[in-house]
């Protein structure tokens, strides 16, 4: 324990002391009030003890001078001394300090402040210990909080990783692929639709018989009634190209309107068979 801490606590205890100081009895009356009878009794007792001591001392001196100077035997001496002490302890009877109440009171008064002092020290000591433990508790709690947070973060991380794992697994990949395919299909559909719209809007079949046209060319043959639209031509080409990639050529027949074929060939969308000029194919764009 810290000395500073101890000092602090001691000060705190001292402050507490002052709070209940007025509850304490007054200081012990000084010796003058001590009854003469008790004093005499004590002195008598002391005299008695001293006499006994002197008697014992005489006995010791006597024994020492009597005993011959035999070579000292440590172990034996020790053993007998210990045995004697043990015997003494076994036989000893606790005796009352004194039967005089005045004497006992004085002794008690002397003893109590000492006890009080010791207990105060114990108190301050345990308070310091308690404070220390509180601090430890606080830090431990903080530590626990931190650990909890770490656990939370780790759990989240685990969940994220699991999701990732699921995504990367076979099923996940399949699912992903399907989604992509669907997306591409949708895109394709929309593209086809847009293409169809554009074709329908900007490339109509020559159905109208413009008078000016007739007058100019004069002998221009009437367009056939069963001509197919540009849209259909493209569809044919594309289907052929996809269905039989080894043989993507389509025979040109009467239903194909020649200007459209010309346009496709000129803009590099279609190309003729190198040997058979009646066959065309879709240009390989890939």
């Amino acid at each position: 324990m810290d000395a500073d801490e101890l000092l602090k606590n001691a000060k705190a205890v001292a402050n507490n002391m002052s709070e209940y100081q007025h509850n304490l009895p007054q200081d012990t009356p000084d010796d003058r009030e001590f009854p003469e009878a008790a004093r005499t009794e004590l002195l008598d007792e002391c005299e008695e003890q001293y006499e006994q001591l002197q008697q014992l001392q005489n006995e010791i001196t006597l024994a020492e001078s009597e005993s011959p100077q035999n070579p000292p035997n440590q172990a034996a001496d020790r053993a007998s001394a210990l045995r004697a002490e043990l015997k003494e302890w076994l036989e000893i009877q606790p005796n009352l300090l004194s039967s005089n109440p005045e004497v006992l009171l004085a002794v008690g008064k002397e003893e109590l402040p000492r006890l009080n002092k010791q207990l105060e020290m114990v108190l301050s000591c345990s308070q310091a210990k308690r404070d220390k433990l509180k601090e430890v508790l606080k830090s431990e709690q903080k530590w626990l909080e931190e650990k909890k947070e770490v656990l939370k973060a780790a759990t989240e991380q685990v969940i994220v990783l699991q999701q990732e794992n699921d995504r990367l697994s076979e099923k996940g990949v399949l699912e992903d692929m399907k989604k992509k395919v669907q997306k591409v299909k949708d895109y394709q559909d929309s593209l086809l639709e847009t293409l169809g719209d554009i074709l329908a809007e900007h490339f109509p079949l020559p159905v109208q018989e413009g008078n000016a046209n007739k007058k100019k060319k004069g002998i221009t043959t009437e367009p056939r009634a069963d001509l197919i639209s540009l849209h259909d031509i493209l569809e044919l080409l594309m289907n052929k190209f996809v269905e039989t990639p080894h043989e993507p050529y389509v025979m040109i027949n009467e239903t194909f309107w020649p200007p459209y074929i010309e346009m496709l060939l000129r803009h590099g969308i279609a190309s003729r068979h190198p040997e058979d000029c009646f066959k065309i194919r879709l240009e390989a764009f890939y």
């Binding site: 001591l53 001392q57 010791i60 020492e64 440590q74 001496d77 020790r78 001394a81």
Partner: protein, 184 residues
């Protein structure tokens, strides 16, 4: 004439300790520390270079309650002087009124033979052996405190305890050979 433990009457609330040290360098500091620390009991410290004590002032000398032999492991002379002094002590002192104070045991240059020797002596006499530090103030303070504790018991100032009893509990035990082999 050897020193006897019970040849004189004890005095009230008094404890007398005799510090025996050949070099006379540590005992003065130690005695000051002892006297400074104790205030409830009247402690007198007597210093001696070696035993036996001079006969001239034997009459005026109070009863010695504890004899402390200070041994410096740094010097061989310290050990030899202590061994010689031991012979002049009455066997009654060895029943709990002698203790050994060893200094310098921490220094690596000290030969283990010396430490083993003093340990063997202490063990054969069943006396406590205190390892102390004499270079620092704190070490001296601690040594004084330990000597004082033993002194109070051996002077009979602690109820329900006697020097014989205490020394039986804290006596130095005989070093075994393996202890020294391990340290080598």
């Amino acid at each position: 004439m050897s020193l006897k433990p019970y040849s004189k009457l004890p005095e009230l609330n008094t404890a007398n300790v005799l510090l025996v040290e050949n070099e006379e360098e540590f005992q003065k500091r130690l005695s000051e520390a002892i006297v400074r620390q104790e205030n409830s009991v009247n402690v007198t410290v007597r210093l001696a270079r070696c035993l036996p004590l001079p006969v001239e002032n034997a009459e005026g000398r109070p009863r010695i309650d504890l004899v402390v032999f200070i041994v410096h492991l740094r010097s061989e002379q310290s050990l030899l002087s202590t061994e010689a002094s031991l012979k002049h002590l009455d066997s009654g002192y060895f029943l709990g009124k002698v203790c050994f104070l060893v200094t310098g045991a921490r220094s690596g240059t000290v030969s283990y033979e010396r430490l083993a020797s003093i340990k063997r002596t202490a063990a054969s006499l069943n006396c406590p052996l205190l390892m102390t530090e004499d270079k620092t103030t704190e070490g001296v303070h601690t040594a004084a405190q330990r000597v004082l504790n033993i002194l109070k018991v051996s002077a009979g100032l602690v109820p329900m305890a006697s020097g014989l009893y205490l020394s039986t509990l804290i006596r130095c035990s005989m070093p075994t050979d393996s202890d020294w082999q391990n340290q080598d």
